[in-house]
Symmetry: C2
């Protein structure tokens, strides 16, 4: 036994929790920069947050120009607004993109870096205090120390990591997910499922991370088969399971499934969760073929074999994107250079990675 | 679903972790008050801590006059020393008593209260920052917001509760437990087991607290049968399981088992963990008889029936203390007035409580 557990976010769960427990926002500061996309107006999250802040007599400014897979330009715009209005804390509201943008704004607002330095690591211990309100059940970003941004230098998405990126507060209200369309529900659920499974495949996986990951898999897997129109209870369970998967990767990081998927997102605009869902099945097969016991633990938590898990993910993905074979070869070579290829319980060769790409995307051996 | 999870302590686990990860103490302050009992010299914890602090160029003062079931007088003495030397953070090293004394010192050093006000609640958000190093596997105090002290006004033990009492850091090194005598190993293991089981019996028990509690029970129960001379792996597992049980009660609090046991500790000097072990079995029977489903979940996690759990605890307790029947009656009446009689999944009558006392201590019906 040799591990650590650090999950400092105060996670508040329940329908109506933003209004009921909004006083918890009080200690964060006097003026909030609310970082969000377009959907938080429709799902009610933004209205609940603004009501809570007003009740606390806290001021707020809304920055709602976050687009999927946020760029550094978007983050810079948020930082400029944050400084112009004198905001002293940040609230991220939305799916992974607004939350990741909010996290990048919170840390880069206090630690000035050029675009070329943003992904160079070694961040200090400071960031503006943050609260997060996820409105999809997938990213788990509300409890992780990561912010993932589009990295045009490397033509992929890249993470910033710092303990300063742990939000102080997270509000999980399943009601904000009730009206999500089936495609988003499916993609984000695959993201959460992939987080939990990938966490189990990392060398640093620990008794603490595995407790969170297995509980997440146990809740998620049966729900994956009924995502067309989930009942309220299922929405709540999906949101909690995605948070648990976030707690797992907060301790372990992700695997090359994420590293590989980022290429598909950058070049083909494949939704992030869907990219993970496309690649996870063959990755599990690779680990299984190479005798990694964690695969058995993943299967036990799901109550399913690798074959059954692959079929479930395949159903959720539906028709595949067309990615040429030569692109797969290029990605395989580049994947070998990414951060999260390292420290997995099985070290893949470039051929292994190429085989995952081709079997997943073209349906054939490399 | 309606709950929250707040477990902000950075928990570092592994043999040698205090020396290997001692740099984590650096941000806590410049001068540590080390609060400990006598055994931390023999088990090596104090030497490891002092070495880590010296390496960090942090000063320290040792307050080693903590006795079991710390009194307010002991806490006052620690506060006086803390102020005299100008300590700006606190490290608790030992079993529950030094850790609870350290927590009380850390909060009362910044919030002055008369003895009569100490247990009146409503503490502010401030305390001196703390690290904790448990040297028994029982209390879980290293991850809870509670400090339990002897309360001479009420002739029992009483808790102080405040989020400010969450330690910043906890180091869990099973080596400090290797040479514990069987009696202490057994009593502390019963304490941890009782925390996990009691947490499941509270109304506020949640998906998060139950995850921690069940994992703790799953690890602990098989180990309860082999506590005479545990192997190193078992020592490590006991320490982690007691931490998990602490995480569970940090979210839910304890039940009347604790409230009842404190009387036995105050009047008869019964070890705290042993007091819980004496009373838990009959308490589980009461909840089972009254159809509380959580008992089934406790049994499933243990892989044992209530009868088997009772027998295991009874073996661990051995010969009972002699407590007169009229004392049991007095305790039953007083127990009805304690904090943790409230909000359990079954609300006991005074007769129920009396029956638990007499069956547990005298072996007969009331």
């Amino acid at each position: 036994m040799n591990f650590s557990v650090f999950l400092p976010t105060n996670v508040i769960v329940g329908r109506g929790c933003v209004r009921a427990r909004g006083a918890e926002l009080q200690p964060l500061g006097s003026h909030a920069l609310i970082v969000t996309g377009k959907s938080s107006r429709a799902n009610g999250a933004l209205a609940d947050l603004c009501a809570a802040l007003s009740k606390n007599q806290q001021r707020y400014t809304v920055f709602d120009r976050v687009t999927p897979n946020p760029t550094l330009a978007c983050v810079r715009e948020g930082i400029a607004l944050c400084k112009a209005v004198g905001a002293d804390f940040v609230v991220g509201v939305g799916g992974g993109s607004p939350m990741d943008a909010a996290k990048a704004i919170a840390i880069l607002a206090v630690e000035t870096r050029t675009d070329g330095e943003v992904f160079a690591g070694n961040y200090g211990a400071r960031a503006l205090p943050m609260a997060h309100i996820p409105t999809t059940a997938g990213t788990g970003s509300e409890v992780t120390p990561y912010a993932i941004l589009t990295n045009d230098f490397a033509r992929t998405k890249t993470s910033i990591t710092s303990p300063a990126l742990f939000p102080k507060l997270a509000f999980l209200d399943g009601a904000y997910c009730d009206d999500l369309p089936p495609r988003i529900t499916k993609n984000t659920a695959m993201d959460a499922f992939s987080h939990a499974a990938e966490s189990m495949l990392k060398q640093v996986s620990s008794p603490a991370s595995e407790m969170c990951a297995k509980e997440s898999l146990r809740i998620l897997y049966p729900l994956l088969k009924a995502l067309e129109r989930p009942a309220k209870e299922a929405r709540d369970a999906l949101l909690w399971a995605s948070c648990l998967a976030g707690m797992a990767i907060a301790q372990t990081g992700t695997t090359f499934v994420h590293g590989m998927g980022y290429f598909l997102t950058y070049d083909y605009g494949v939704d992030h969760g869907r990219a993970n869902g496309l690649l996870l099945g063959e990755t599990l097969r690779l680990f299984e073929e190479n005798g990694v016991p964690a695969v058995g633990e993943i299967c036990a938590a799901c109550g399913a074999s690798v074959g059954e898990i692959c079929a479930t993910l395949s159903d959720l993905c539906g028709a595949r994107e067309t990615v040429p074979r030569e692109k797969c070869a290029e990605y395989a070579a580049r994947a070998m250079q990414t951060k999260n290829i390292r420290a997995c319980k099985f070290a893949p060769t470039e051929e292994d990675i190429l085989r995952i790409f081709t079997k997943s995307l073209i349906g054939e051996e490399a």
